[in-house]
């Protein structure tokens, strides 16, 4: 059964991918991309990667699609045909693909328990996490502690994106509340949005604090939090949204999140340990790990939420 879903999903992905190549309408392409992302998220669930699925759904299908739609709205909708025949690209792609397929021939089989990936470090993570970190979700323990430094890098990447969009698109605060006449008429949407808004924020907090036990964590929470505001902005106008969270605040939030994370790391040094060593944060190492993970997830969440909104504001404020 699992395999069947797998095959079907992969097939659908392929169809979507080809459709994206062929389609000329960029609006349609953006929507198809969203579908592609959602399909991958489903596939991730089938492949037991629930955390990834949640993130892909929120980031890939959610935020990315919004950005694409915003860009399509700003640029021309239709794609022009390429000037050159695509022979060279086709050749490059064929060669690359052939190389990769050649590489698969010696790969361990899909799902093979004897594959090296399941032997070395991975089994240790699964084995040691309960004792060393005390968190059931091993993804969280690896993400936040064993490879916490990658995650710091990841937050920095997001922060970079925020700073970059700030530099490229800037922001304009709206005095007047510009709102499409279309949306004003959509009473249903506005009512639903109003209902959903607190629920989404609540769910974000749940995802943030429940990340130790189930799928979720700072990233997903941050994105969901931002999505709530984006929905609000869509339904009630950018001006209103900006009145709730205005731009300078977002800048501060984006910076503070990274700083919280780094501060936890430096605190480890100051307490006589290594950088990002959470064990020294409390008397009991496991408690220290808990504390550390909680704090850094918070930092991640703040930065991600802030940067998502900075990016969104940046794109939307260009629509004049």
């Amino acid at each position: 059964m699992e395999h069947l879903i797998d095959i079907v999903l992969l097939g659908l992905l392929m169809i979507t991918g080809f459709a994206i190549v062929r389609m000329k309408s960029l609006l349609a392409v953006a929507m198809l991309t969203s579908i592609y992302s959602l399909l991958s998220a489903s596939l991730f669930v089938v492949l037991d990667a629930v955390d990834v699925a949640l993130t892909e759904a929120a980031i890939g299908a959610g935020i990315s699609t919004i950005l694409m739609l915003a860009t399509v709205a700003l640029t021309r909708d239709e794609e022009k045909a390429p000037r050159h025949t695509p022979l060279l690209p086709l050749a490059v792609v064929t060669v690359t693909g052939a190389a990769l397929i050649y590489g698969t021939l010696d790969m361990p089989h899909y799902g093979d328990p004897a594959a090296p990936v399941h032997q070395h470090a991975a089994s240790a993570y699964l084995h040691d996490t309960p004792g060393e970190i005390g968190v059931p979700n091993v993804v969280t323990s690896v993400l936040a502690s064993y490879r916490g430094y990658d995650t710091l890098g990841e937050v920095t990447v997001i922060f970079t994106a925020g700073a970059g969009v700030l530099a490229l698109l800037g922001y304009r605060t709206r005095r007047r509340n510009i709102q499409g006449p279309g949306i004003r008429k959509l009473v249903v949407l506005r009512v639903i949005a109003k209902l959903f808004f607190p629920l989404i924020l609540l769910f974000a907090l749940y995802v943030l604090f429940h990340g130790d036990y189930g799928p979720g964590g700072g990233f997903q929470a941050g994105v969901i939090f931002a999505t709530g505001f984006i929905l609000y902005a869509l339904a009630f106008g950018l001006g209103n949204a900006q009145r709730v969270i205005h731009h300078p605040l977002l800048r501060i939030m984006a910076a503070v999140g990274v700083l919280i994370y780094a501060a936890v790391g430096i605190e480890g040094i100051l307490l006589g340990g290594k950088f990002l060593e959470y064990g020294v944060l409390a008397d009991d190492p496991v408690t220290g790990q808990h504390l550390g993970i909680m704090l850094i997830e918070l930092g991640v969440g703040i930065t991600v939420a802030a940067v998502m909104l900075i990016i969104y504001y940046g794109f939307v404020s260009r629509q004049d």
Partner: protein, 118 residues
């Protein structure tokens, strides 16, 4: 069934990756290129997650009564990579917006023509 699927997953994923790659290098529209990158990267994620899968395993959340879990490490890597992909997409699209404003087009060929005229 496992034997049949031995490499099936990987092959499809490779086709998906190449679809994205093709869009990037063959399509002149700047938005579409970014979308191509997005597809390319997302497909690479599937490759990683596929390798983390273990036959008969479950999601790597420790629970009583379960002993086989899929490998959490690729999941972690891909969480990071998804964020990187988002950052790239956001910056790429922001650049497209600026290019559209500066050139009045988001078609690569037209931009080349304008640059030649400068």
């Amino acid at each position: 069934m496992t034997e049949l699927l031995g490499h099936y997953n990987y092959w499809i994923v490779i086709i998906l990756m190449m679809t994205g790659f093709y869009i990037v290098i063959a399509r002149p529209n700047l938005v579409k290129k970014v979308i191509g990158l997005f597809i390319f990267q997302t497909s690479v994620f599937i490759l990683f997650i596929s390798m983390a899968k273990i036959e008969g395993g479950t999601a790597p959340i420790i629970e009583e009564g379960l002993s086989v879990y899929s490998n959490p490490l690729p999941h972690v890597l891909i969480l990071t990579a998804i964020v990187v992909s988002l950052a790239t997409t956001a910056l790429g699209l922001a650049l497209v917006v600026r290019i559209q404003e500066a050139y009045g087009t988001s078609n690569e060929d037209d931009i080349h023509v304008q640059d030649e005229e400068d």
